[in-house]
């Protein structure tokens, strides 16, 4: 019974939107069950949205990546100019860019799942028979999913911890760290959507007889 009670506690805490409640509720092992369900359901929703609204599918991760990238460059560039020309430097110019880098890195990880450009050694796989190739692709999907669930649960705990401790970004007065940290679990929810999308494509290719494994080129347009 206590297991169900723990699950109930997590939902109640999420409803209350109180970071301290959420943090203590997530400490139980029930968080893993909720994590699996949440990842699976949101993954399906993300996949559905991507299918219905191709603009989001194409632009969401790309925009987050590109604009955090440019923001990092701009903040650091301006920091140097500020120091040399105006003898001044914003205190947050060295603390916000690393957080943006983190946001970019995990959204980028999700984007690369879709492109299948994460570094891998695919020489053996490509010379396998079709059934073997499909098995490898399904294995990939399962491994990505489990990994994503683990990261979602552990980083959500961290976000709640950060929020309940009122961690503020150094060098600012009122910018909370958890606003940035939240990007990590979000990126992994999107990643699950990408994993499902890939899996659907693979099964489709299997049925129609299309080649299952295509050479992906890093940085191709």
């Amino acid at each position: 019974m206590s297991f169900w009670a723990d699950i109930g506690a997590i939902f109640r805490a999420l409803m209350s939107r109180d970071s301290f409640e959420i943090q203590s509720a997530l400490e139980s092992d029930a968080a893993w069950v909720v994590g699996i369900l949440a990842a699976a359901i949101s993954g399906l929703i993300v996949m559905f949205i991507y299918r219905k609204v191709p603009v989001i599918e194409r632009q969401l991760e790309r925009s987050v990546m590109v604009y955090s990238y440019l923001a990092i460059a701009l903040i650091i560039f301006w920091g140097v100019i500020d120091r040399f020309v105006f003898n001044d430097q914003e205190p947050w110019s060295t603390t916000i860019p690393p957080l943006l880098f983190m946001v970019m890195a995990w959204f980028g990880a999700s984007y690369n799942v879709r492109l299948r450009t994460h570094l891998s050694f695919s020489e053996f796989r490509s010379s396998m028979p079709r059934a073997g190739q499909l098995a490898c692709l399904i294995l990939d999907a399962v491994l990505w999913f489990i990994f994503a669930v683990i990261v979602i649960v552990t980083t959500t705990r961290l976000v709640a911890l950060s929020a309940s401790n009122f961690q503020i970004v150094l060098g600012t007065d009122n910018i909370m760290q958890w606003w940035f940290l939240l990007a990590a679990p979000l990126a992994f929810f999107l990643m699950v959507g990408r994993v499902f999308q890939n899996l659907a494509d693979d099964l489709q290719n299997w049925k129609t007889g299309e080649p299952l494994i295509k050479q992906a080129v890093i940085g191709a347009d």
Binding site: I72, P98, F107, H118, E123, D140
Partner: protein, 452 residues
């Protein structure tokens, strides 16, 4: 079963996954997860580290920025000008175009910090011309792959940034220490290239004209300025490596945006070879417009999205390895080899073989914290050792089975991976000779360092 047996089983299991073609990020990730269970560690530790690696690392930020500089100088046309200059200087020698593309790799590497960007840019730019110039297509692709290795030795370099970040060494000094060894790598490979081309009679010769050299050098001034900016800033300590990266990105963006309208107004023709252009036409590069910027950035962002998560997960793996006592085991093994040179060469062998199967970043993150203290204990200078270590890791880019540059070169040139391998052997020999030379002569790495 003992912990040791479990860890061995897990390691074998993930190696099997790697062979099946599971992404390296997951392979290392599952090793971490498995070992966390064996050690009774909570997985929360992994989650926390995946975020902290970035949040605590202002120094690490130089990495994405120096990747971006590569794409910016490529798109703006500065990279093209640098390679035109290299060709004008070397085209009169047998195999000049191939040697020029190695030289262009060196110049490109002095602005960009990424090896795969170097291979991809120079490969896609010069491969078609090398084919036209009568070179074997496999040799041409191998040249791009091998040339890319200097991308991470000639400063700026993302791997020196990661190494300095992890080992608490001044990144600016690491950069300076990489200059001579990087230049030697280029010269060594050019020598190998010259020998091969002479034997096979590849390439057409162009006469050496002072006018052409001067004109292309003038055309590449923006590139030289960027190189000077990076080196000056780091050498004098005016800004940190991260700031140098930010400034270089800023410079490249401004140079690209300003060049575009000027180039238009002056009516420069972009599709003719540099010999037919006037000096005025060479003044600025083609440049780009503001709406084009996102499409330039997305390429770099994609590469960062591959490498940054890999860095994060490798850091967690290193922590678990140190909990498992790998430091002691490997340390005892390496020190049992004997003194200075024995430790040095054992470390080099370990790095070389790890580089064959792993990407350079995991090799560095996992092995450097283990090997560097041992090297220091037998009296090897930490900066000298870092250069030796990273040269070894960079050679791993063109060693099979897992050589990232070979994949990139194969991707941009269309030459199949396995057909490329044989043609990298001469380059490999050259790189190994330079590597051993640098390991025996510490001054090659240390002489340029500013004296205290």
């Amino acid at each position: 079963m003992t912990d040791g047996t479990w860890v061995t089983l897990i390691s074998l299991g993930v190696t099997f996954l790697f062979m099946l073609g599971v992404p390296v990020l997951l392979v290392i990730g599952y090793w971490v997860i498995g070992c966390s269970f064996v050690l009774g560690l909570t997985l929360d530790n992994m989650g926390a580290e995946l975020l902290n690696v970035f949040n605590k690392g202002f120094a690490l930020l130089a990495m994405p920025l120096f990747i971006l500089t590569g794409d910016l100088i490529n798109k703006s046309g500065i990279a093209r000008r640098l390679s035109d200059f290299a060709y004008a200087c070397l085209g009169w020698i047998r195999g000049g175009l191939a040697m020029a593309s190695l030289g262009a790799c060196g110049l490109f590497a002095a602005i960009s910090g990424s090896n795969s960007a170097t291979t991809a840019t120079i490969g896609s730019m010069l491969h078609p011309e090398m084919i036209k110039g009568g070179y074997d297509e496999r040799f041409s692709a191998a040249t791009a792959a091998a040339g890319g290795t200097v991308g991470i030795i000639i400063p700026p370099s993302i791997i020196f940034i990661v190494y300095g970040f992890l080992m608490n060494l001044p990144i600016s000094e690491l950069f300076v220490a990489g200059i001579l060894p990087g230049a030697l790598m280029v010269i060594g490979m050019q020598l190998a290239c010259w020998v091969i081309c002479r034997i096979n009679g590849w390439g057409y010769l162009i006469p050496l004209q002072l006018n052409r050299v001067l004109k292309t050098a003038f055309g590449a001034w923006l590139g030289f300025f960027a190189i000077g900016l990076v080196l000056w800033g780091i050498y004098t300590g005016k800004f940190s490596p991260t700031e140098a990266a930010g400034v270089t990105v800023g410079f490249c963006v401004i140079a690209g945006l300003v060049s575009y309208p000027i180039n238009r107004i002056m009516g420069a023709r972009n599709d003719i070879p540099p010999t037919e252009k006037s000096f005025a036409e060479m003044f600025v590069v083609e440049g780009f417009t503001i709406p084009e910027i996102p499409s330039i950035v997305i390429r770099s962002a994609q590469i960062t999205g591959i490498l940054a998560p890999l860095i994060a997960i490798s850091v967690v793996m290193q922590q678990i390895l140190s909990l498992l006592g790998a430091q002691e085991t490997i340390g005892n093994f390496v020190t049992s080899m004997g003194g200075y040179h024995a430790v040095l060469f054992t470390s080099m062998v370990i790095v070389f073989f790890s580089g064959m199967v792993l990407e350079s970043l995991p090799v560095t993150i996992i092995l450097a914290p283990i090997l560097a203290p041992i090297a220091a204990s037998v009296g090897i200078d930490p900066i000298h050792f870092s250069v030796i270590f990273l040269m070894g890791a960079s050679i791993g880019f063109i060693t099979p089975p897992y050589g990232l540059n070979l994949y990139v070169a194969s991707g941009v040139t269309g030459v199949p991976y396995f057909r490329l391998l044989r043609y990298t052997v001469p380059y490999l020999a050259a790189l190994l000779s330079v590597w051993i030379l640098v390991s025996l002569v510490p001054d090659l790495a240390l002489i340029l360092l500013p004296k205290n």
